[in-house]
């Protein structure tokens, strides 16, 4: 069961970035290169040239992003789904994270809800109900046990006690199993929608009210690093850069320690290392790092962006954050971003004005320095042996 689950997930989320590989598009690969075998080099070179000359580079899909009221929105249903599936970008405004609102409404309207159509949000709900039931039956059981000890139990209640203790046992086991295994990951067949076309017909006109909201850093990453989005009204990468920076610096002159730039440097740093980076606001930090993405594993790291020349936090705030992060079994990472000097920054920004290709912004961002510190509690009584 678990395996099939994983295989399906792997199929849906096979691309960590919204970029189409040549190998995926044409089904061709470069031959393996054996360092000790010169013939393999020659064959590699021939294939390499062949592919470069005869195959055009596959075009990755471009997504339309709208800039409205200080929000970057994706409204097209297919784009929303693709951006989520290929790199986990954005958040559905009516859902927990994956834009599933429409799917959930449709599922609720159907007579027979099959397990595979259950959305993540509903799974959580079911689990909570189960937990509630367990707690109430346990309380009842304890009450009866007390009566038993006090010797005021009736024969009827003895029967009840027996039955209850069995249910509690069952529920307890169940809770453990679903808590530990990954059954919280829902199977969702990618083409499961088409099977019940009859019932769906009535609801086909259900308007999509949900849109995908992108964070500033996500939008800029999609534009600057991958160039897979198109924002009407914001033509060049540098325009987008300025728009994002002005969200924090309203005086129309960008400072080297602009919050957007610093956040973006950290976001890009971890994205380029292959992590799936999402907002960490729920844990009081700036970012969360997932190994592959939310459907696969829990986030493993919580990243707090810090400035090396400012002491923004005190021990109390840090301890509070660390405590929260520790209880959800994540590791707390303080990521410090060192900025270039104001003169250097000014010069690089003026370079960006001249060169519109994004390369100058790359040069600018390269001047930022990143160092991490891991913050962990130490319990001396536990590390002695």
């Amino acid at each position: 069961m678990g395996k099939r689950n994983n295989r399906q997930l792997n199929k849906i989320y096979s691309r960590p970035l919204p970029i189409t590989l040549t190998s995926q598009h044409y089904g061709i690969t470069l031959p393996t290169l054996y360092p000790h075998n010169p013939i393999s080099w020659i064959w590699f070179m021939i294939r390499y040239c062949q592919i470069n000359v005869f195959y055009p580079v596959p075009e990755s899909q471009t997504f339309e992003v709208h800039w409205e009221n200080g929000i970057f929105k994706v409204v097209d249903e297919e784009s929303m789904m693709k951006l989520w599936q290929m790199g986990f970008f954005g958040k559905g405004v009516l859902s927990r994270s994956e834009p599933t609102w429409k799917e959930r409404v449709l599922a609720r309207k159907k007579e027979n809800v099959e397990a595979k159509d259950v959305a993540m949000e509903d799974i959580t709900k079911m689990r909570r109900e189960e937990r509630k039931l367990f707690k109430s039956s346990r309380a009842q059981l304890q009450e009866l046990e007390l009566k038993d000890r006090q010797g005021i139990i009736t024969a009827e209640e003895v029967e009840q006690l027996k039955a209850l203790s069995e249910t509690v046992q069952v529920l307890r086991k169940k809770g453990r199993v679903s808590g530990r295994s990954k059954s919280s990951i829902v199977e969702r067949d990618s083409d499961g929608e088409d099977t019940d076309s009859e019932e769906e017909e009535d609801w086909e006109e259900l308007a999509q009210l949900e849109y995908l909201q992108l964070q500033l850093v996500e939008t800029f990453f999609l534009k600057f690093a991958l160039n897979v989005i198109n924002i009407p009204g914001i033509a060049s990468t540098f325009d987008l850069f300025k728009t994002c920076c002005y969200q924090y610096d309203n005086n129309q002159s960008i400072q080297p320690n602009n919050k957007f730039i610093i956040d973006y440097v950290v976001y890009h740093h971890f994205r380029s290392l292959g992590w799936c980076v999402r907002s960490g606001i729920k844990f009081g930090t700036d970012f969360l790092l997932y190994k592959r993405g939310p459907p696969f594993t829990h986030a493993e790291y919580c990243v707090l962006v810090m400035k090396p020349d400012e002491q923004e936090y005190d021990w109390f705030q840090m301890a509070a954050k660390a405590r929260v992060i520790g209880t959800v079994k994540k590791i707390f990472v303080l990521t410090y971003v060192g900025c270039p000097s104001p003169e250097e920054f000014k010069e690089l920004v003026s370079q960006c004005e001249k060169d519109d290709t994004g390369l100058a912004i790359g040069d600018l961002l390269q001047q930022y320095k990143v160092s991490e510190i891991l913050y962990r509690r130490w319990a001396p009584s536990r590390t002695r042996d």
């Binding site: 190998s23 304890q142 000890r149 390369l359 320095k369 990143v370 160092s371 891991l374 509690r377």
Partner: protein, 397 residues
């Protein structure tokens, strides 16, 4: 790696369900008026009282006597006895005497293991008991100049069994980092022509990059996205390492100690609660990594099991995991071992300093490690997959 694991007290306890007698039931929070509960409570109370009731004393041969030297703020012990001097004190004089610093002296007196006398300078070592002035604990506290925060940390760790010595800096100076200026080449006309014909691709971060370059896997894309950000250059900090700490080891030698398991910085935050600056922490890391020339191999021998204890849940889980692993294919086993050790590198970072925060007598310990998300200098990873870029987390095997 036990210091790394997240705190999970339940895992450490033996799995009582394996034992027949002390089965854990639901916890009771208030008296229910039954004799069953009352008697259970009474038995455990009695067990505690009887344990506390036995007489504790010192053997006369083990009597330890120290002479307080006010001018040096230390204590001289002419005849050191007992097992305390494995890590405490510095040898002094030819007759085998030992000098303890104020913290160590205070600790032994507070434990009731040593009696300290104050001489007038002329007393001989032998008759100090009759001619000197016996110091009780409160007098000693008044006399000894001790940083209370440091003493609290010292005595706490010492009582837990750790081996502790004051830290002495051996460092002369750190070579400061010099940035290397990179010169960038401008693309010339020919390159532009080749790009127009679709033979050559545009560089990373050019809008045309992904439209002109073939990629066969995502690892290469991630590599091309790297900004090659450097680490923040070295500076000097204001914090000092206070103690070197070792886990309890029977073979510890004061003369040639192994490299410490922990470096502890004691920080009194009663008045200033600011979190240390990056430069402070970085300087501490630099100091530790420069003194620990040979990083200790983290080979952990399996802990010796107390025979009577049933295995803990954690151990059972590890055992089951190992069994499952051994059934897998060789290449998968190798890959899993690689991924595990990569995770350990990420989790542990490269250098760790312990900050002991004392806030009006309350102690809190924090580990600050240097992050190593770029996974530099990880030889054991190179040994498994030499050509892999370890730092890219997205796996394509």
């Amino acid at each position: 790696m036990s210091q790394i694991d997240l705190i999970e007290p339940e895992d450490e306890l033996p799995d009582y369900s394996q034992l027949s007698v002390p089965k854990r039931g639901e916890k009771e929070f208030q008296p229910d008026g039954t004799t069953i509960q009352q008697s259970a409570l009474q038995t455990s109370l009695e067990a505690m009282y009887s344990a506390l009731d036995s007489l504790r004393m010192h053997h006369i041969k083990q009597k330890l006597i120290g002479i307080w030297r006010t001018e040096d703020n230390c204590c001289y012990i002419p005849h050191p006895r007992g097992g305390y001097f494995k890590d405490m004190g510095v040898p002094s004089g030819k007759k085998g005497g030992v000098v303890l610093n104020a913290i160590e002296c205070l600790y032994l007196v507070e434990r009731g293991s040593m009696a300290v006398y104050l001489g007038d300078g002329n007393n001989s070592e032998e008759d100090i008991e009759s001619t000197g002035l016996a110091l009780n604990l409160s007098y000693l506290y008044a006399l000894a100049k001790v940083d209370l925060a440091q003493y609290q940390i010292y005595s706490y760790l010492k009582r837990l069994g750790y081996i502790i010595q004051p830290y002495t800096s051996k460092m002369d100076h750190i070579p400061l980092f010099k940035p290397i200026k990179q010169t960038k080449m401008k693309p010339n006309y020919l390159v532009g022509l080749a790009r127009n014909w679709g033979i050559l691709s545009y560089p990373s971060f050019h809008p045309m990059h992904f439209k002109t370059k073939h990629y066969f896997n995502y690892t290469d894309i991630f590599k091309s996205l790297s900004l090659n950000t450097e680490s923040i250059p070295k500076t000097t900090g204001n914090l000092k390492i206070t103690f070197r700490v070792w886990k309890p080891t029977p073979s510890f030698s004061k003369k040639s100690p192994p490299s410490p398991d922990f470096h502890v910085v004691v920080l009194d935050t009663s008045t200033d609660t600011k979190f240390p600056s990056f430069a402070d922490v970085q300087a501490l890391h630099d100091e530790i990594s420069s003194t620990n020339i040979k990083p200790k191999e983290q080979v952990k021998s399996p802990p010796k099991k107390k025979s009577s204890m049933p295995p803990s849940k954690k151990e059972l889980r590890a055992k089951r995991q190992a069994e499952r692993q051994s059934k897998l294919d060789q290449s998968i086993q190798k890959r899993n071992a690689y991924l595990n050790s990569r995770d350990q590198h990420l989790k542990n970072g490269s250098v760790t300093v312990v900050i002991a925060i004392v806030n009006q007598g309350i102690i809190n310990f924090v580990n600050l490690s240097r992050g190593n998300f770029k996974l530099k200098e990880c030889d054991n990873l190179d040994n498994v997959f030499p050509n892999k870029t370890h730092s890219i987390i997205y796996n394509e095997f």
